[in-house]
Symmetry: C2
Subunit: 316 residues, 2 copies
Protein backbone atom coordinates (compact mmCIF):
# COMPACT_ATOMS: atom_id res chain seq x y z
CA UNK A 1 0.00 0.00 0.00
CA UNK A 2 1.38 3.43 -0.76
CA UNK A 3 2.35 5.93 1.89
CA UNK A 4 -0.62 8.23 1.26
CA UNK A 5 -3.11 5.43 1.83
CA UNK A 6 -1.28 4.35 4.95
CA UNK A 7 -1.42 7.92 6.27
CA UNK A 8 -5.14 7.96 5.52
CA UNK A 9 -5.31 4.65 7.41
CA UNK A 10 -3.85 6.52 10.40
CA UNK A 11 -0.73 4.38 10.64
CA UNK A 12 1.55 6.13 13.10
CA UNK A 13 4.79 5.11 11.41
CA UNK A 14 3.48 6.15 8.01
CA UNK A 15 2.51 9.57 9.37
CA UNK A 16 5.94 10.04 10.91
CA UNK A 17 7.60 9.02 7.66
CA UNK A 18 5.38 11.34 5.62
CA UNK A 19 6.20 14.26 7.91
CA UNK A 20 9.92 13.60 7.52
CA UNK A 21 9.48 13.60 3.75
CA UNK A 22 7.64 16.93 3.70
CA UNK A 23 10.15 18.41 6.12
CA UNK A 24 12.90 17.45 3.69
CA UNK A 25 10.88 18.83 0.80
CA UNK A 26 10.90 15.40 -0.89
CA UNK A 27 9.62 15.91 -4.44
CA UNK A 28 8.11 12.50 -5.02
CA UNK A 29 6.12 12.58 -1.82
CA UNK A 30 4.94 16.17 -2.11
CA UNK A 31 3.69 15.24 -5.60
CA UNK A 32 1.85 12.26 -4.18
CA UNK A 33 0.42 14.46 -1.45
CA UNK A 34 -0.63 16.92 -4.10
CA UNK A 35 -2.39 14.18 -6.05
CA UNK A 36 -4.54 13.57 -2.97
CA UNK A 37 -5.55 17.25 -2.93
CA UNK A 38 -9.20 16.59 -3.68
CA UNK A 39 -9.49 14.11 -0.80
CA UNK A 40 -7.93 16.41 1.78
CA UNK A 41 -10.14 17.04 4.81
CA UNK A 42 -10.12 20.63 6.13
CA UNK A 43 -9.63 20.35 9.87
CA UNK A 44 -9.86 23.33 12.14
CA UNK A 45 -6.50 25.05 12.32
CA UNK A 46 -5.45 26.68 15.56
CA UNK A 47 -2.27 28.77 15.65
CA UNK A 48 -0.41 29.36 18.90
CA UNK A 49 2.31 31.96 18.95
CA UNK A 50 4.08 34.26 21.35
CA UNK A 51 7.54 35.35 22.43
CA UNK A 52 10.10 32.85 23.72
CA UNK A 53 9.43 31.88 27.33
CA UNK A 54 5.71 32.57 27.26
CA UNK A 55 4.90 28.92 27.88
CA UNK A 56 3.43 28.11 24.47
CA UNK A 57 4.41 24.45 24.54
CA UNK A 58 2.97 23.88 27.99
CA UNK A 59 -0.20 25.65 26.94
CA UNK A 60 -0.41 23.60 23.76
CA UNK A 61 0.02 20.44 25.80
CA UNK A 62 -2.78 21.48 28.17
CA UNK A 63 -4.96 22.33 25.19
CA UNK A 64 -4.32 18.92 23.66
CA UNK A 65 -5.35 17.31 26.93
CA UNK A 66 -8.59 19.26 27.03
CA UNK A 67 -9.36 18.46 23.39
CA UNK A 68 -8.70 14.79 24.07
CA UNK A 69 -11.32 15.07 26.79
CA UNK A 70 -13.75 16.03 24.00
CA UNK A 71 -12.65 12.91 22.16
CA UNK A 72 -10.95 14.86 19.40
CA UNK A 73 -7.91 13.55 17.56
CA UNK A 74 -5.31 16.29 17.77
CA UNK A 75 -2.36 16.96 15.50
CA UNK A 76 0.35 19.41 16.50
CA UNK A 77 3.02 20.96 14.31
CA UNK A 78 5.57 22.85 16.41
CA UNK A 79 7.50 25.09 14.06
CA UNK A 80 10.83 26.10 15.44
CA UNK A 81 12.64 28.71 13.46
CA UNK A 82 15.33 29.15 16.09
CA UNK A 83 17.94 26.96 14.51
CA UNK A 84 18.05 28.00 10.90
CA UNK A 85 21.45 26.52 10.18
CA UNK A 86 21.53 23.16 11.87
CA UNK A 87 17.94 22.38 11.04
CA UNK A 88 17.47 21.04 14.55
CA UNK A 89 14.13 21.39 16.30
CA UNK A 90 13.52 22.25 19.93
CA UNK A 91 13.92 19.12 21.95
CA UNK A 92 12.00 20.80 24.74
CA UNK A 93 8.81 20.85 22.73
CA UNK A 94 8.88 17.14 22.29
CA UNK A 95 9.75 16.48 25.90
CA UNK A 96 6.97 18.64 27.24
CA UNK A 97 4.48 16.96 24.97
CA UNK A 98 5.63 13.52 26.00
CA UNK A 99 2.64 12.94 28.25
CA UNK A 100 0.76 12.35 25.00
CA UNK A 101 3.45 10.10 23.59
CA UNK A 102 1.51 6.88 24.05
CA UNK A 103 -1.78 8.25 22.75
CA UNK A 104 -2.38 7.26 19.12
CA UNK A 105 -4.96 10.02 18.77
CA UNK A 106 -2.38 12.72 19.37
CA UNK A 107 0.46 13.36 16.97
CA UNK A 108 3.10 15.96 17.73
CA UNK A 109 5.83 16.94 15.34
CA UNK A 110 8.54 19.56 15.73
CA UNK A 111 9.80 21.08 12.52
CA UNK A 112 12.75 23.33 11.95
CA UNK A 113 12.82 26.10 9.44
CA UNK A 114 14.15 25.41 5.97
CA UNK A 115 15.64 28.82 5.27
CA UNK A 116 14.22 31.73 3.37
CA UNK A 117 11.65 31.98 0.66
CA UNK A 118 8.71 30.45 2.34
CA UNK A 119 10.60 27.32 3.38
CA UNK A 120 9.11 27.37 6.83
CA UNK A 121 5.62 28.10 5.61
CA UNK A 122 5.74 25.56 2.80
CA UNK A 123 6.93 22.75 5.06
CA UNK A 124 4.44 23.60 7.79
CA UNK A 125 1.52 23.69 5.33
CA UNK A 126 2.51 20.31 3.98
CA UNK A 127 2.80 18.94 7.51
CA UNK A 128 -0.69 20.24 8.29
CA UNK A 129 -1.94 18.49 5.16
CA UNK A 130 -0.37 15.21 6.24
CA UNK A 131 -2.09 15.47 9.62
CA UNK A 132 -5.36 16.40 7.91
CA UNK A 133 -5.02 13.36 5.68
CA UNK A 134 -4.62 11.23 8.81
CA UNK A 135 -7.86 12.73 10.06
CA UNK A 136 -6.55 14.78 12.91
CA UNK A 137 -8.92 17.62 13.75
CA UNK A 138 -8.04 20.18 15.02
CA UNK A 139 -4.51 20.69 13.84
CA UNK A 140 -2.54 23.03 16.10
CA UNK A 141 0.41 24.98 14.74
CA UNK A 142 2.75 26.34 17.36
CA UNK A 143 5.51 28.84 16.50
CA UNK A 144 7.98 30.99 18.35
CA UNK A 145 6.56 34.37 17.64
CA UNK A 146 8.87 37.17 16.78
CA UNK A 147 8.94 38.70 13.38
CA UNK A 148 8.28 36.82 10.20
CA UNK A 149 7.06 33.67 11.87
CA UNK A 150 4.00 35.57 13.08
CA UNK A 151 3.03 36.43 9.56
CA UNK A 152 3.45 32.80 8.69
CA UNK A 153 1.30 31.52 11.51
CA UNK A 154 -1.36 34.10 10.81
CA UNK A 155 -1.64 32.64 7.33
CA UNK A 156 -1.51 29.03 8.59
CA UNK A 157 -4.34 29.17 11.10
CA UNK A 158 -8.07 29.86 11.15
CA UNK A 159 -7.70 31.20 14.66
CA UNK A 160 -4.45 32.67 15.95
CA UNK A 161 -3.85 32.58 19.69
CA UNK A 162 -1.15 34.93 20.96
CA UNK A 163 0.40 33.97 24.30
CA UNK A 164 1.95 36.64 26.51
CA UNK A 165 3.32 36.54 30.04
CA UNK A 166 3.50 39.13 32.79
CA UNK A 167 7.13 40.21 32.94
CA UNK A 168 9.37 43.11 33.67
CA UNK A 169 10.78 43.32 30.17
CA UNK A 170 9.88 46.35 28.13
CA UNK A 171 10.53 44.34 25.02
CA UNK A 172 7.32 42.39 25.34
CA UNK A 173 5.51 45.68 25.54
CA UNK A 174 7.23 46.86 22.41
CA UNK A 175 6.37 43.68 20.58
CA UNK A 176 2.74 43.79 21.48
CA UNK A 177 1.61 46.25 18.87
CA UNK A 178 2.77 43.97 16.08
CA UNK A 179 1.60 40.82 17.75
CA UNK A 180 -1.81 42.30 18.56
CA UNK A 181 -2.55 42.76 14.89
CA UNK A 182 -2.64 39.02 14.28
CA UNK A 183 -4.23 37.94 17.58
CA UNK A 184 -7.73 36.52 17.45
CA UNK A 185 -7.45 35.29 21.01
CA UNK A 186 -4.97 36.69 23.53
CA UNK A 187 -3.76 34.51 26.39
CA UNK A 188 -2.11 35.88 29.50
CA UNK A 189 -0.25 32.78 30.60
CA UNK A 190 1.47 32.45 33.98
CA UNK A 191 -1.39 34.72 35.07
CA UNK A 192 -0.64 33.96 38.74
CA UNK A 193 2.46 36.11 38.43
CA UNK A 194 2.69 39.75 39.40
CA UNK A 195 1.82 42.09 36.61
CA UNK A 196 -1.08 40.21 34.99
CA UNK A 197 -3.40 43.15 35.65
CA UNK A 198 -0.95 45.61 34.15
CA UNK A 199 -0.38 43.37 31.13
CA UNK A 200 -4.11 43.10 30.50
CA UNK A 201 -4.41 46.89 30.50
CA UNK A 202 -1.49 47.16 28.10
CA UNK A 203 -3.07 44.60 25.80
CA UNK A 204 -6.36 46.46 25.79
CA UNK A 205 -4.54 49.66 24.95
CA UNK A 206 -2.58 48.02 22.13
CA UNK A 207 -5.82 46.50 20.87
CA UNK A 208 -7.31 49.92 20.28
CA UNK A 209 -4.61 50.59 17.71
CA UNK A 210 -5.68 47.65 15.57
CA UNK A 211 -6.74 48.57 12.06
CA UNK A 212 -10.44 48.54 11.25
CA UNK A 213 -11.73 45.71 9.08
CA UNK A 214 -12.64 46.52 5.47
CA UNK A 215 -15.89 48.43 4.99
CA UNK A 216 -18.94 46.30 5.70
CA UNK A 217 -17.03 43.52 7.44
CA UNK A 218 -17.77 42.74 11.07
CA UNK A 219 -15.10 43.54 13.64
CA UNK A 220 -13.84 40.75 15.85
CA UNK A 221 -13.00 41.75 19.39
CA UNK A 222 -10.24 39.36 20.58
CA UNK A 223 -11.06 37.95 24.01
CA UNK A 224 -8.32 38.01 26.65
CA UNK A 225 -8.01 34.73 28.54
CA UNK A 226 -5.93 34.18 31.67
CA UNK A 227 -4.27 30.81 32.07
CA UNK A 228 -1.76 29.00 34.23
CA UNK A 229 -0.94 26.26 31.78
CA UNK A 230 1.28 24.31 34.16
CA UNK A 231 -1.77 23.81 36.41
CA UNK A 232 -4.38 23.49 33.66
CA UNK A 233 -6.07 26.69 34.81
CA UNK A 234 -8.10 28.63 32.27
CA UNK A 235 -7.80 26.03 29.54
CA UNK A 236 -11.54 25.55 29.15
CA UNK A 237 -11.93 29.34 28.89
CA UNK A 238 -9.37 29.26 26.13
CA UNK A 239 -11.25 26.52 24.30
CA UNK A 240 -14.42 28.58 24.61
CA UNK A 241 -12.69 31.66 23.19
CA UNK A 242 -11.35 29.68 20.25
CA UNK A 243 -14.80 28.25 19.60
CA UNK A 244 -16.31 31.75 19.75
CA UNK A 245 -13.92 32.94 17.08
CA UNK A 246 -14.81 29.96 14.93
CA UNK A 247 -18.49 30.76 15.31
CA UNK A 248 -17.70 34.35 14.32
CA UNK A 249 -15.92 33.10 11.19
CA UNK A 250 -18.59 30.64 10.13
CA UNK A 251 -21.49 32.88 11.15
CA UNK A 252 -20.16 35.69 8.98
CA UNK A 253 -19.16 33.35 6.16
CA UNK A 254 -15.53 34.37 6.67
CA UNK A 255 -14.01 30.90 6.99
CA UNK A 256 -13.84 30.41 3.25
CA UNK A 257 -12.18 33.81 2.87
CA UNK A 258 -9.56 32.75 5.42
CA UNK A 259 -8.93 29.56 3.47
CA UNK A 260 -8.79 31.38 0.15
CA UNK A 261 -6.22 33.77 1.51
CA UNK A 262 -4.23 30.85 2.88
CA UNK A 263 -4.30 29.06 -0.46
CA UNK A 264 -3.18 32.22 -2.21
CA UNK A 265 -0.32 32.85 0.15
CA UNK A 266 0.76 29.25 -0.28
CA UNK A 267 0.69 29.71 -4.04
CA UNK A 268 2.93 32.74 -3.69
CA UNK A 269 5.37 30.89 -1.45
CA UNK A 270 5.55 27.91 -3.75
CA UNK A 271 5.80 30.01 -6.90
CA UNK A 272 8.64 32.11 -5.47
CA UNK A 273 10.51 29.02 -4.32
CA UNK A 274 9.93 27.16 -7.58
CA UNK A 275 10.98 30.06 -9.80
CA UNK A 276 14.17 30.57 -7.86
CA UNK A 277 14.69 26.81 -7.73
CA UNK A 278 14.47 26.50 -11.48
CA UNK A 279 17.13 29.20 -11.84
CA UNK A 280 19.43 27.42 -9.45
CA UNK A 281 19.04 23.98 -10.92
CA UNK A 282 17.66 22.46 -14.06
CA UNK A 283 15.73 25.34 -15.61
CA UNK A 284 16.55 26.77 -19.01
CA UNK A 285 17.94 29.94 -17.41
CA UNK A 286 20.29 28.06 -15.11
CA UNK A 287 23.36 28.78 -17.24
CA UNK A 288 22.59 32.47 -17.49
CA UNK A 289 21.86 32.66 -13.78
CA UNK A 290 25.19 31.01 -12.97
CA UNK A 291 27.13 33.46 -15.07
CA UNK A 292 25.27 36.42 -13.57
CA UNK A 293 25.89 35.02 -10.13
CA UNK A 294 29.59 34.81 -10.86
CA UNK A 295 29.70 38.46 -11.84
CA UNK A 296 27.71 39.48 -8.77
CA UNK A 297 30.01 37.48 -6.50
CA UNK A 298 33.03 39.08 -8.11
CA UNK A 299 31.51 42.50 -7.48
CA UNK A 300 31.62 43.47 -11.16
CA UNK A 301 27.84 43.58 -11.47
CA UNK A 302 25.21 44.73 -9.00
CA UNK A 303 22.60 42.19 -7.90
CA UNK A 304 19.83 44.44 -9.24
CA UNK A 305 21.46 44.77 -12.65
CA UNK A 306 21.78 40.97 -12.73
CA UNK A 307 18.11 40.51 -11.91
CA UNK A 308 17.12 42.98 -14.61
CA UNK A 309 19.16 41.07 -17.19
CA UNK A 310 17.61 37.85 -15.99
CA UNK A 311 14.02 39.06 -16.29
CA UNK A 312 14.77 40.41 -19.76
CA UNK A 313 16.28 37.11 -20.89
CA UNK A 314 13.23 35.23 -19.61
CA UNK A 315 10.95 37.86 -21.16
CA UNK A 316 9.16 38.07 -17.84
Amino acid sequence: MDLISRVQGREIRAIARALTLVENGDDAFTMALDAAFAELPHPERIGITGPPGSGKSTLTSALVKALRGQDKRVGVVAVDPSSPFSGGALLGDRLRMSEHALDDDVFVRSMASRGRFGGLAIGSEDACDVLALANFDPVIVETVGVGQSEVDIASLADTTVVVLTPSAGDSVQALKAGIMEIAEVVVINKADRDGAERLEEDIKEAMELRPMPPEGQPMWQPPIVRTVATENHGISDLLTAIAQHRTFLTGNKLLSAVRQKRAESRLHDLAGAALLGSLKAGGRAQGLFESLRGRVRAGTMSPRAAVKELLAALSL
Copy 2:
Protein backbone atom coordinates in the same frame (compact mmCIF):
# COMPACT_ATOMS: atom_id res chain seq x y z
CA MET B 1 21.70 68.22 -7.59
CA ASP B 2 20.30 64.71 -7.57
CA LEU B 3 19.57 62.78 -4.41
CA ILE B 4 22.48 60.36 -4.83
CA SER B 5 24.99 63.20 -5.03
CA ARG B 6 23.42 64.88 -2.03
CA VAL B 7 23.69 61.63 -0.06
CA GLN B 8 27.34 61.42 -1.10
CA GLY B 9 27.65 65.01 0.08
CA ARG B 10 26.43 63.79 3.50
CA GLU B 11 23.34 65.98 3.58
CA ILE B 12 21.27 64.75 6.50
CA ARG B 13 17.89 65.46 4.91
CA ALA B 14 18.92 63.76 1.70
CA ILE B 15 20.04 60.66 3.61
CA ALA B 16 16.76 60.54 5.49
CA ARG B 17 14.81 60.91 2.25
CA ALA B 18 16.87 58.23 0.53
CA LEU B 19 16.26 55.81 3.40
CA THR B 20 12.53 56.42 3.20
CA LEU B 21 12.65 55.68 -0.52
CA VAL B 22 14.50 52.38 -0.06
CA GLU B 23 12.21 51.41 2.79
CA ASN B 24 9.27 51.91 0.44
CA GLY B 25 11.05 49.98 -2.27
CA ASP B 26 10.87 53.01 -4.59
CA ASP B 27 11.86 51.80 -8.06
CA ALA B 28 13.28 55.04 -9.42
CA PHE B 29 15.52 55.56 -6.44
CA THR B 30 16.72 51.98 -6.13
CA MET B 31 17.66 52.18 -9.81
CA ALA B 32 19.60 55.39 -9.17
CA LEU B 33 21.27 53.75 -6.17
CA ASP B 34 22.11 50.81 -8.38
CA ALA B 35 23.68 53.09 -10.97
CA ALA B 36 26.09 54.27 -8.26
CA PHE B 37 27.10 50.66 -7.58
CA ALA B 38 30.70 51.14 -8.76
CA GLU B 39 31.18 54.12 -6.46
CA LEU B 40 29.86 52.39 -3.34
CA PRO B 41 32.31 52.33 -0.44
CA HIS B 42 32.43 49.07 1.53
CA PRO B 43 32.25 50.10 5.17
CA GLU B 44 32.70 47.61 7.97
CA ARG B 45 29.36 45.99 8.77
CA ILE B 46 28.61 45.03 12.34
CA GLY B 47 25.48 43.02 13.10
CA ILE B 48 23.89 43.09 16.54
CA THR B 49 21.20 40.56 17.33
CA GLY B 50 19.65 38.79 20.28
CA PRO B 51 16.30 37.97 21.84
CA PRO B 52 13.84 40.70 22.83
CA GLY B 53 14.82 42.33 26.10
CA SER B 54 18.53 41.62 25.85
CA GLY B 55 19.34 45.30 25.66
CA LYS B 56 20.51 45.43 22.06
CA SER B 57 19.52 49.04 21.50
CA THR B 58 21.24 50.26 24.65
CA LEU B 59 24.32 48.30 23.69
CA THR B 60 24.24 49.70 20.18
CA SER B 61 23.97 53.18 21.60
CA ALA B 62 26.97 52.60 23.87
CA LEU B 63 28.90 51.17 20.93
CA VAL B 64 28.10 54.22 18.84
CA LYS B 65 29.41 56.45 21.62
CA ALA B 66 32.66 54.51 21.83
CA LEU B 67 33.10 54.57 18.06
CA ARG B 68 32.47 58.32 18.05
CA GLY B 69 35.32 58.54 20.56
CA GLN B 70 37.50 57.02 17.82
CA ASP B 71 36.25 59.74 15.48
CA LYS B 72 34.33 57.30 13.32
CA ARG B 73 31.15 58.25 11.52
CA VAL B 74 28.58 55.63 12.47
CA GLY B 75 25.45 54.57 10.63
CA VAL B 76 22.84 52.38 12.32
CA VAL B 77 20.01 50.44 10.70
CA ALA B 78 17.67 49.01 13.34
CA VAL B 79 15.59 46.37 11.62
CA ASP B 80 12.37 45.65 13.43
CA PRO B 81 10.44 42.69 12.17
CA SER B 82 7.96 42.82 15.01
CA SER B 83 5.23 44.69 13.24
CA PRO B 84 4.86 42.97 9.90
CA PHE B 85 1.41 44.30 9.19
CA SER B 86 1.45 47.95 10.14
CA GLY B 87 4.97 48.50 8.92
CA GLY B 88 5.69 50.52 12.05
CA ALA B 89 9.14 50.48 13.59
CA LEU B 90 10.06 50.36 17.26
CA LEU B 91 9.83 53.85 18.64
CA GLY B 92 11.93 52.74 21.58
CA ASP B 93 14.96 52.25 19.36
CA ARG B 94 14.83 55.78 18.19
CA LEU B 95 14.24 57.17 21.66
CA ARG B 96 17.12 55.30 23.18
CA MET B 97 19.44 56.46 20.44
CA SER B 98 18.36 60.07 20.88
CA GLU B 99 21.53 61.04 22.71
CA HIS B 100 23.13 60.97 19.29
CA ALA B 101 20.32 62.92 17.69
CA LEU B 102 22.27 66.15 17.33
CA ASP B 103 25.45 64.52 16.05
CA ASP B 104 25.73 64.78 12.26
CA ASP B 105 28.28 61.97 12.24
CA VAL B 106 25.76 59.47 13.58
CA PHE B 107 22.74 58.40 11.60
CA VAL B 108 20.17 56.02 13.08
CA ARG B 109 17.28 54.61 11.15
CA SER B 110 14.62 52.14 12.28
CA MET B 111 13.12 50.03 9.53
CA ALA B 112 10.16 47.72 9.64
CA SER B 113 9.90 44.49 7.75
CA ARG B 114 8.31 44.50 4.34
CA GLY B 115 6.77 41.05 4.43
CA ARG B 116 8.06 37.83 3.02
CA PHE B 117 10.40 37.05 0.21
CA GLY B 118 13.50 38.83 1.32
CA GLY B 119 11.68 42.12 1.87
CA LEU B 120 13.43 42.75 5.14
CA ALA B 121 16.80 41.76 3.79
CA ILE B 122 16.40 43.72 0.56
CA GLY B 123 15.37 46.93 2.32
CA SER B 124 18.09 46.60 4.96
CA GLU B 125 20.78 46.01 2.33
CA ASP B 126 19.67 49.08 0.44
CA ALA B 127 19.66 51.11 3.64
CA CYS B 128 23.21 49.96 4.38
CA ASP B 129 24.18 51.06 0.86
CA VAL B 130 22.69 54.50 1.40
CA LEU B 131 24.68 54.87 4.62
CA ALA B 132 27.80 53.60 2.84
CA LEU B 133 27.28 56.15 0.10
CA ALA B 134 27.11 58.85 2.78
CA ASN B 135 30.47 57.60 4.02
CA PHE B 136 29.40 56.16 7.33
CA ASP B 137 31.85 53.50 8.51
CA PRO B 138 31.09 51.27 10.32
CA VAL B 139 27.47 50.55 9.56
CA ILE B 140 25.73 48.73 12.39
CA VAL B 141 22.69 46.57 11.68
CA GLU B 142 20.58 45.76 14.72
CA THR B 143 17.78 43.17 14.60
CA VAL B 144 15.49 41.44 17.02
CA GLY B 145 16.90 37.98 16.87
CA VAL B 146 14.57 35.07 16.77
CA GLY B 147 14.27 32.89 13.75
CA GLN B 148 14.63 34.12 10.22
CA SER B 149 15.94 37.55 11.14
CA GLU B 150 19.11 35.88 12.43
CA VAL B 151 19.77 34.35 9.07
CA ASP B 152 19.26 37.74 7.54
CA ILE B 153 21.62 39.53 9.86
CA ALA B 154 24.24 36.85 9.46
CA SER B 155 24.21 37.59 5.76
CA LEU B 156 24.13 41.38 6.29
CA ALA B 157 27.15 41.72 8.54
CA ASP B 158 30.87 41.02 8.42
CA THR B 159 30.82 40.40 12.15
CA THR B 160 27.70 39.25 13.96
CA VAL B 161 27.41 40.06 17.65
CA VAL B 162 24.85 38.02 19.59
CA VAL B 163 23.57 39.62 22.78
CA LEU B 164 22.24 37.44 25.59
CA THR B 165 21.18 38.23 29.14
CA PRO B 166 21.23 36.22 32.35
CA SER B 167 17.65 35.19 33.01
CA ALA B 168 15.53 32.51 34.47
CA GLY B 169 13.84 31.63 31.22
CA ASP B 170 14.55 28.23 29.73
CA SER B 171 13.65 29.65 26.35
CA VAL B 172 16.84 31.62 26.02
CA GLN B 173 18.72 28.44 26.75
CA ALA B 174 16.80 26.63 24.07
CA LEU B 175 17.44 29.36 21.56
CA LYS B 176 21.12 29.43 22.18
CA ALA B 177 22.09 26.51 20.01
CA GLY B 178 20.65 28.20 16.94
CA ILE B 179 21.92 31.63 17.84
CA MET B 180 25.38 30.32 18.62
CA GLU B 181 25.84 29.17 15.07
CA ILE B 182 25.82 32.69 13.72
CA ALA B 183 27.68 34.39 16.60
CA GLU B 184 31.14 35.73 15.91
CA VAL B 185 31.14 37.64 19.17
CA VAL B 186 28.88 36.78 22.11
CA VAL B 187 27.90 39.48 24.59
CA ILE B 188 26.53 38.75 28.03
CA ASN B 189 24.75 42.01 28.65
CA LYS B 190 23.31 43.00 32.03
CA ALA B 191 26.27 40.97 33.32
CA ASP B 192 25.83 42.42 36.81
CA ARG B 193 22.73 40.29 37.21
CA ASP B 194 22.66 36.90 38.87
CA GLY B 195 23.30 34.06 36.51
CA ALA B 196 26.02 35.57 34.32
CA GLU B 197 28.44 32.83 35.33
CA ARG B 198 25.91 30.13 34.55
CA LEU B 199 25.04 31.73 31.22
CA GLU B 200 28.71 31.86 30.24
CA GLU B 201 29.04 28.14 30.96
CA ASP B 202 25.94 27.42 28.91
CA ILE B 203 27.27 29.48 26.03
CA LYS B 204 30.58 27.63 26.08
CA GLU B 205 28.72 24.34 26.06
CA ALA B 206 26.52 25.41 23.16
CA MET B 207 29.61 26.64 21.35
CA GLU B 208 31.08 23.15 21.32
CA LEU B 209 28.18 22.01 19.17
CA ARG B 210 29.02 24.44 16.42
CA PRO B 211 29.81 22.85 13.09
CA MET B 212 33.45 22.70 11.98
CA PRO B 213 34.50 25.05 9.19
CA PRO B 214 35.13 23.54 5.75
CA GLU B 215 38.37 21.56 5.40
CA GLY B 216 41.44 23.77 5.40
CA GLN B 217 39.65 26.84 6.72
CA PRO B 218 40.67 28.31 10.05
CA MET B 219 38.22 28.05 12.95
CA TRP B 220 37.11 31.24 14.66
CA GLN B 221 36.59 30.97 18.41
CA PRO B 222 33.92 33.55 19.31
CA PRO B 223 35.02 35.60 22.32
CA ILE B 224 32.50 36.06 25.14
CA VAL B 225 32.32 39.65 26.37
CA ARG B 226 30.50 40.81 29.50
CA THR B 227 28.85 44.21 29.37
CA VAL B 228 26.52 46.42 31.35
CA ALA B 229 25.47 48.63 28.48
CA THR B 230 23.45 51.04 30.62
CA GLU B 231 26.67 51.93 32.46
CA ASN B 232 29.04 51.69 29.49
CA HIS B 233 30.85 48.76 31.08
CA GLY B 234 32.66 46.35 28.83
CA ILE B 235 32.12 48.36 25.66
CA SER B 236 35.82 48.74 24.87
CA ASP B 237 36.22 44.96 25.32
CA LEU B 238 33.42 44.52 22.83
CA LEU B 239 35.13 46.84 20.34
CA THR B 240 38.33 44.85 20.79
CA ALA B 241 36.51 41.57 20.15
CA ILE B 242 34.91 42.96 17.00
CA ALA B 243 38.29 44.22 15.80
CA GLN B 244 39.83 40.80 16.49
CA HIS B 245 37.22 39.12 14.32
CA ARG B 246 37.91 41.61 11.57
CA THR B 247 41.63 40.87 11.80
CA PHE B 248 40.79 37.17 11.60
CA LEU B 249 38.74 37.79 8.43
CA THR B 250 41.31 39.98 6.69
CA GLY B 251 44.32 37.97 7.88
CA ASN B 252 42.82 34.80 6.43
CA LYS B 253 41.56 36.53 3.30
CA LEU B 254 37.99 35.68 4.30
CA LEU B 255 36.48 39.15 4.06
CA SER B 256 36.00 38.90 0.30
CA ALA B 257 34.34 35.51 0.75
CA VAL B 258 31.92 37.07 3.26
CA ARG B 259 31.12 39.82 0.78
CA GLN B 260 30.72 37.39 -2.10
CA LYS B 261 28.29 35.32 -0.09
CA ARG B 262 26.39 38.46 0.84
CA ALA B 263 26.17 39.59 -2.78
CA GLU B 264 24.94 36.14 -3.77
CA SER B 265 22.28 36.00 -1.10
CA ARG B 266 21.15 39.46 -2.14
CA LEU B 267 20.92 38.28 -5.73
CA HIS B 268 18.71 35.39 -4.62
CA ASP B 269 16.45 37.67 -2.58
CA LEU B 270 16.08 40.16 -5.40
CA ALA B 271 15.59 37.48 -8.04
CA GLY B 272 12.89 35.73 -6.00
CA ALA B 273 11.09 38.99 -5.32
CA ALA B 274 11.38 40.18 -8.94
CA LEU B 275 10.17 36.91 -10.44
CA LEU B 276 7.16 36.81 -8.18
CA GLY B 277 6.63 40.52 -8.72
CA SER B 278 6.50 40.10 -12.49
CA LEU B 279 3.86 37.40 -12.08
CA LYS B 280 1.77 39.64 -9.89
CA ALA B 281 2.02 42.72 -12.03
CA GLY B 282 3.12 43.58 -15.51
CA GLY B 283 4.93 40.46 -16.63
CA ARG B 284 3.83 38.38 -19.62
CA ALA B 285 2.61 35.61 -17.30
CA GLN B 286 0.44 37.91 -15.20
CA GLY B 287 -2.77 36.82 -16.91
CA LEU B 288 -2.01 33.14 -16.53
CA PHE B 289 -0.97 33.68 -12.92
CA GLU B 290 -4.22 35.48 -12.17
CA SER B 291 -6.32 32.68 -13.58
CA LEU B 292 -4.31 30.05 -11.69
CA ARG B 293 -4.66 32.09 -8.55
CA GLY B 294 -8.39 32.20 -9.00
CA ARG B 295 -8.57 28.42 -9.23
CA VAL B 296 -6.31 28.00 -6.20
CA ARG B 297 -8.43 30.40 -4.18
CA ALA B 298 -11.55 28.55 -5.19
CA GLY B 299 -9.96 25.32 -4.04
CA THR B 300 -10.37 23.64 -7.43
CA MET B 301 -6.63 23.46 -8.03
CA SER B 302 -3.80 22.78 -5.63
CA PRO B 303 -1.14 25.47 -5.25
CA ARG B 304 1.53 22.98 -6.35
CA ALA B 305 -0.36 22.03 -9.49
CA ALA B 306 -0.73 25.73 -10.28
CA VAL B 307 2.99 26.31 -9.88
CA LYS B 308 3.77 23.35 -12.10
CA GLU B 309 1.53 24.73 -14.84
CA LEU B 310 3.11 28.13 -14.42
CA LEU B 311 6.68 26.85 -14.78
CA ALA B 312 5.66 24.86 -17.84
CA ALA B 313 4.02 27.89 -19.46
CA LEU B 314 7.12 29.96 -18.84
CA SER B 315 9.28 27.04 -20.03
CA LEU B 316 11.36 27.46 -16.90
